[in-house]
């Protein structure tokens, strides 16, 4: 397959204005989805998507990405997504979405050739700031602020791109998601009553919102810089854009952000929903995430909404996401863990909604005030029982920070003093280069190549 893709790239790279001459050697780095580890059994090999990052030899970053898809997406759907993304990029004046160069049918699979984006994705940045050797509270503060700023400005820009630009009352859709959730997780019936769904719908419908181009994926890992494994390629993007009011896609990302393990497990007692509620009410200052989240909500157009209305939207988005995940993992062992998690979260959502009725002061008094504590940032993730979408089970072993001291030093030097880093690299690479040259000369199969 790689050879077929490579041949295709060679034939067409010129028309995509990419510098690939016949003599250029290309190398493919293949990235498969961890969900393919048998977690989701009903998906056939390759259906979830395999990504190939293409490098020209001696290049330090990929120049092209090929996404090998199953048959779920039709050619016309991909073309529609590509057109929409391209017109969005043109309106915005910068490249928010990767440019899709072409779609080809190679070796029985559909392959999408798209522009490569450089830099780690949001989740990798976050987890490094929380649990990498370079971790620190300040690093996390910087990362969170930057990510929300980028997301906020991107979503703000998207509001300018109207598709139908109609006012939508999202209550009915939120209610149908809630009913679907109760069908998938019947135990939640004791917590989420018809009355509470009705109240949610009523609050949501008080605030009609305009539709515009939405970000359809809510896996934090895929926003926005970095090697994008998942993108806006969805079967019915126009339909989604017509159904979702703009802020819904922003709230989906917000929920994904707090639920992603670097953040969720950094809060004491995993009380991230309380933290989110306090960010919304501005009743208490939540360190690190408070200000960026509030600014982000303002940019979403929720500035004028009362905390109760915003919370009703959060509930609607939660039901939507819970349904998607429960259906996706229906046949896997994860489904039971997920139901348990969603049950707890549904209870918290209802509890917090009741608290919000008492106003900001009441909320500040009655909500848990979780802290992103230095101890948590220094340690490892503790709760192995917790359903975890974005990471793997972790050992509960606290790691002394000094273990990462050398790495941290290197990181900081690399980050701040590039010239020093290059000088150190040059010095220690000198003997290695010599050794490599000697080794190559002594290997007959490589001697000719060098």
């Amino acid at each position: 397959m790689l050879e077929q893709i490579e041949r295709y790239i060679r034939e067409h790279a010129g028309s995509w204005h990419l510098d690939v001459s016949p003599s250029t050697r290309l190398r493919g780095l293949l990235r498969a989805n961890p969900e393919n580890d048998g977690i989701v059994r009903e998906f056939g090999a390759g259906q979830i998507g395999t990504i190939v990052f293409w490098f020209r030899v001696d290049d330090r970053k990929p120049f092209l990405v090929s996404k090998i898809l199953g048959t779920a997406l039709t050619e016309s759907a991909i073309a529609e997504c590509a057109n929409l993304q391209e017109s969005a990029n043109q309106v915005l004046g910068y490249r928010l979405f990767p440019k899709i160069h072409a779609t080809a049918r190679l070796g029985g699979a559909r392959v999408v050739m798209m522009e490569a984006a450089d830099g780690p994705n949001y989740e990798i940045h976050l987890s490094r700031a929380v649990s990498g050797p370079e971790r620190s509270v300040n690093a996390l503060r910087r990362v969170v602020a930057r990510q929300f700023e980028e997301l906020g400005s991107a979503l703000l820009s998207l509001q300018a791109i109207g598709l139908s630009r109609t006012d939508v009352k999202w209550g009915a859709m939120a209610a149908s998601n809630a009913q679907r959730f109760l069908g998938l997780c019947p135990e939640a019936g004791a917590i989420v009553s018809d009355a509470s769904i009705g109240a949610m719908v009523e609050l949501i419908d008080t605030m009609p919102l305009q539709t515009h181009l939405v970000l359809t994926e809510d896996h934090l890992a895929n926003y926005l810089p970095g090697p994008r494994a998942v993108d806006q390629l969805v079967p019915n993007i126009r339909g989604l854009c017509d159904q979702w009011p703009g802020p819904v896609s922003g709230l989906r990302i917000l929920l994904a952000f707090f639920r992603a393990s670097p953040i969720r497990e950094g809060f004491t007692d995993y009380a991230w929903l309380d933290a989110l509620a306090l960010c919304i009410t501005e009743a208490r200052r939540i360190e690190i995430v408070g200000t960026p989240v509030r600014r982000f909500l303002d940019e979403l157009g929720m500035k004028s909404a009362s905390p109760q209305v915003t919370w009703a939207f959060v509930m609607g988005v939660f039901f939507m996401r819970a349904c998607q995940e429960l259906e996706f993992y229906a046949d896997s062992d994860k489904a039971a863990l997920l139901r348990k998690e969603f049950l707890e979260l549904a209870g918290d959502l209802i509890r917090i909604r009741e608290v919000l009725k008492t106003g900001a002061e009441g909320a500040a008094r009655r909500l848990t005030v979780p802290r992103l504590h230095r101890r948590h940032l220094d340690g490892e993730f503790q709760n192995r029982e917790h359903a975890d979408f974005y990471s793997f089970p972790q050992l509960a072993v606290p790691v002394p920070r000094w273990l990462g001291a050398v790495a941290r030093f290197q990181y900081q030097v690399k980050d701040r003093h590039q010239w020093l880093y290059r000088a150190i690299r040059w010095v220690y690479r000198l003997p290695l280069d010599l050794l490599e040259k000697l080794g190559r000369a002594s290997r007959p199969e490589d001697a000719g190549r060098s």
């Binding site: 990235r31 961890p34 056939g44 330090r60």
Partner: protein, 371 residues
């Protein structure tokens, strides 16, 4: 195998040969017979037993099944209740989920690098429960080879129940393949080569491995490819004290042959035969076996469930991968954090030599693509 009733493209006897003398085989009721030397190869439960010696290997399933009595009972369960139920029945609590391992698509996430076509014939040596063979059979023709009768019979049942008419399961020895010269497009050796010397305890283990690779080369077409997945002898974790996964001894893979043999005899009363090598040594080994060209890949996190296939020939690509994809949450505890730091911040030249598992695509001849 015709008795199974499923249509099979590669069921023809033309591609098989006698593992002893290389003579052609003919079909009798209940067995296959060598036309040259007259050796008879029985068929049990539809699986041709094309091995000269009765296999002593309990096989992957057999190891799990050993404590549960008659192995044939396991195949009975698979036939009566389905292969998935049989795997569930032998699942040991606390062990990795065998069923998920048998169906996980990431078992074959490397398949894009070997260039499979719908008409390709793949020989999967050491098929185990068919996690690789059955998934590849959805795309091309596969012969699943295993020394263990139970494993081979299980794969045959699984293929039949999954309606995989393109998969053939046989019992055979990987060092004496009962397959004619130059018929295979791809041969896979996944976690197998290191075990080859254990069948020949009195021989130099390296020579046993070279012979096995030559045997694979014999059955490959001139433009065929070998996919070899195996551990790295100089994995960084071994320097930190991680036990060698085959012998389960610390630091053993870092010693020279004589020292590790003595150490192994002292501690587990058997010689150290599960030989693994470093990157240059694998290249050398494959070159000595007669392969014309070798592409090396880092299989991250391991060769069983591979999430990334990273070329290691260009150190810059491996560095880009560690810079952009490596997630510290996968490396918890002081030991793994040190590994993470090493991967992130070591020179890329070291990185390529110190990863855990390699995948090699070795070309039998110079392919058009690389000519």
């Amino acid at each position: 195998m015709a008795e199974s009733g499923a249509p099979r493209k590669y069921h023809s006897l033309e591609i098989y040969q006698c593992p002893g003398c290389g003579g052609s085989l003919r079909k009798n009721p209940g067995d296959w017979e060598c036309a040259a030397c007259g050796t008879r190869f029985p068929i049990r439960r539809g699986v041709p037993m094309l091995s000269l010696e009765a296999s002593k290997s309990p096989g992957f399933v057999g190891v799990m099944k050993r404590q549960h009595g008659n192995p044939d009972e396991f195949i009975d369960i698979a036939e009566r209740q389905g292969w998935e139920a049989a795997l569930r029945a032998i699942q040991v609590p606390g062990e990795p989920d065998r069923l998920l391992e048998a169906v996980a698509p990431n078992r074959v996430s490397w398949r894009h690098v070997v260039g499979l076509q719908p008409s390709s014939l793949v020989i999967d040596i050491g098929a185990g429960t068919g996690g690789v063979a059955c998934q590849l059979a959805a795309d091309c023709n596969v012969i699943a080879v295993d020394r263990s009768y139970i494993d081979a019979a299980f794969v045959a049942v699984r293929a039949r129940q999954s309606c995989l008419g393109t998969l053939e399961s046989i019992v055979a020895d990987g060092c004496r393949l009962p397959i004619c010269d130059g018929v295979a497009d791809v041969v896979t050796l996944i976690g197998v080569l290191e075990w080859v010397p254990t069948d020949f305890p009195d021989r130099d283990p390296r020579l046993s491995q070279i012979d096995a690779l030559r045997e694979v080369l014999r059955v490959l077409k001139p433009d065929g490819r070998l996919y070899l997945a195996i551990e790295n002898r100089s994995y960084f974790g071994y320097y930190l004290g991680m036990p060698e996964p085959h012998a389960r001894l610390r630091y053993v893979s870092l010693m020279d042959q004589e020292a590790r043999d003595r150490y192994s005899r002292d501690t587990r009363e058997q010689p150290f035969l599960e030989l693994t090598h470093s990157l240059p040594d694998y290249r050398q080994l494959l070159a000595e076996a007669g392969y014309s060209r070798v592409d090396a890949y880092w299989l991250h996190p391991d060769y069983r469930m591979t999430h990334a296939v990273v070329p290691v020939d260009d150190a810059g690509i491996a560095r880009w991968f560690t810079d952009h994809h490596l997630d510290p949450r996968r490396y918890s505890g002081p030991f793994h954090q040190s590994m993470y730091s090493f991967f992130r911040f070591s020179p890329p030249e070291f990185l390529a030599y110190s990863v855990r598992d390699y995948g090699f695509v070795a070309y039998a001849g110079v392919s058009d693509h690389h000519a």
